[in-house]
């Protein structure tokens, strides 16, 4: 039997609610190919049944198990303990920048509300009875849309963003990334109102390009690139409108 199956990991888990909390320490046996989600589940099943956390698919598709691991936001189901553990110690906290419901479970309401504020829903002009729109996968618009489309709403980018922490109204990387994806969808018809929605004080121009979102996105998306695209689009739209109003 290898040492890894008998060694113990010291895990500091944040316990509390929206009013505050503190860390509890647990000793968890180390296993081969163990993920952070495995650690949390082991604690709940063997040491403290009252530990609250959120997960669903366990394979990196649903985006529900993100937590702060040693201070960095990560999808816990796909984060191997071996890669993030330091000196046999782990610190697990709820996602930053979101209100805590209990222990490691955050309230995602504001995160999804901001998706709606950024008009993250596709608005089409055709019905299912009409022919499928011919879209070339090689067109620049489709490539730009595809580059931003694989978001799983895990809120890791939201937790890594200091601008969200500084300005609670800021729409955040995920919502703006979604808006950019839709702006590049040639079938979408809500481009004008969406641009207005993301151009405001809490929109794309608030981003300071710190690029933590791109650094920690588990799907290797680049919300900063999307936000930069929105900045260009809103600026050129503003100049175009100004030119037209003066030369109408």
């Amino acid at each position: 039997m290898s040492d890894s199956s008998t060694a113990s990991i010291t895990v500091h888990v944040w316990r509390g609610n929206s009013e505050g909390g503190s860390f509890d320490e647990f000793q968890v046996p180390q296993q081969p190919s163990q993920t952070i989600l495995d650690i949390v589940t082991w604690i709940q099943r063997n040491l403290d049944a009252g530990l609250s956390y959120r997960f669903a698919c366990r394979v990196g598709m649903c985006g529900s198990c993100a937590m702060m691991v040693n201070g960095i936001p990560r999808w816990t189901c796909r984060t191997h303990v071996n890669k993030v553990m330091r000196d046999k110690q782990l610190t697990i906290e709820p996602l930053r920048n979101l209100p805590v419901i209990k222990d490691l479970a955050c309230d995602m309401s504001e995160f999804f509300a901001k998706w709606n504020q950024a008009q993250g829903q596709f608005q089409g002009s055709t019905t299912r009875d009409e022919k499928i729109a011919p879209i070339s996968p090689c067109s620049p618009e489709r490539e730009a849309a595809n580059a931003a489309i694989e978001c799983i709403n895990c809120a890791i980018c939201y937790a890594s963003c200091d601008v969200v922490a500084w300005n609670r109204d800021y729409l955040g990387p995920a919502a703006l990334n979604r808006a950019w994806s839709l702006q590049n969808d040639v079938r979408d018809t809500a481009g004008e109102s969406r641009l207005a929605a993301v151009a405001g004080d809490a929109g794309c121009h608030r981003c300071h390009s710190q690029q933590g979102c791109a650094s920690y996105c588990p799907n290797e998306l680049n919300p900063t690139a999307s936000i930069a695209g929105l900045k260009r689009l809103t600026a050129s739209d503003f100049l175009r409108r100004r030119y037209r109003s003066r030369h109408a």
Partner: protein, 112 residues
């Protein structure tokens, strides 16, 4: 520094902020020295003579470094926001710091 901030482009953001703040703090001093000229040649010359000492050259090196850092960092941000996206953002940030060192180092070499 918090763990999530320990990535090169956050450092680039921080350097841009700190250099900007440093330059903003320097501006009142700059205007004060310019104002000395209004008090007469002798006052300004006295200050300019005082500023020729070696220690002041190192202080000026720091000032030129901050200025160059903010200038090249600003160009990086303008390119990031206004040009088609490039995945070489870390390279550009490193280039901005290197260019700032080059300019400030050149100033220091010429100062003595």
């Amino acid at each position: 520094m918090k763990a999530h901030r320990k990535q090169p482009l956050y450092l680039a953001f921080l350097l841009h902020r700190i250099s900007g703040l440093g330059l903003a703090l320097f501006l009142p001093l700059h205007f004060y020295v310019l104002g000395l000229s209004l008090q007469g040649d002798a006052t300004l010359d006295r200050f300019l003579h005082w500023s020729q000492q070696p220690l002041m050259k190192f202080v000026e090196f720091g000032l030129v470094f901050l200025l160059a850092l903010h200038f090249f960092g600003g160009l990086r941000l303008l390119a990031l926001e206004n040009m088609p996206w490039s995945n070489r953002q870390k390279n550009y940030a490193a280039l901005a710091v290197a260019a700032a060192f080059f300019v400030a180092g050149g100033f220091l070499l010429r100062a003595f």
